[in-house]
Amino acid sequence: MADETAVAAVPPQDLKRETIALFIGVAGWLVPGLGHALLKMWGRATMGFLTVGLLVILGAGMRGNVFSSGANDAFDTLGFLADLGTGTFYLAATKLETNGADVSHAGGDYGTRFLATAGVLNLLTALHAYEAARGRKA
């Protein structure tokens, strides 16, 4: 009798496709829109780059909080993870915000939300590119 606990062998082409999809997902996270650009989905690639880029520029320009890895509490950690979602744009945000964060005004508070949203939106876009590369309907 065959061993029922044995894992079914993954066909090599599926493994290759999965590896490429993973690469595309990581590329999409590092540079917003790059994942879709590699799949030749130009509209979505442009949209990803522009919306995430604009949210980061606006967030940093409004002096929102760019969270760093030295978190004080759980909310700071979550903020850092969200900000990190922008990939390389996280570094751009830290460079753009030369005067530091100022959340004593509503503008700074909005800026913090803009930056976090940019990160989460980029993660969503990268996940979409990953799923499209895997052959899911996108």
Binding site: G48, T51, I57, L58, G61, D102, A106, G107, T117
Partner: protein
């Protein structure tokens, strides 16, 4: 660009910018055909603004 100067945006301007950018992103991600994207973006933007302003007015009595 000198972002250190900072952008001075009001509550409504910030909400409007946020709603436009997120609506466009959702429209492009969830729809393929251009006409469907436009419909989705307009509908999503309308709901963003309606709910945002609605919540603002719902909170109004508590601020007085």
């Amino acid at each position: 660009m000198n972002a250190g100067m900072g952008f001075k945006l009001g509550h409504l301007q910030s909400m409007l910018l946020f709603a436009v950018l997120i609506s466009v992103a959702f429209g492009f991600l969830s729809r393929r055909r251009p006409i469907e994207r436009v419909k989705y973006i307009v509908w999503s933007l309308f709901l963003f603004l309606l709910i945002g302003v609605g919540i603002g007015w719902a909170m109004y009595p508590f601020s007085h």
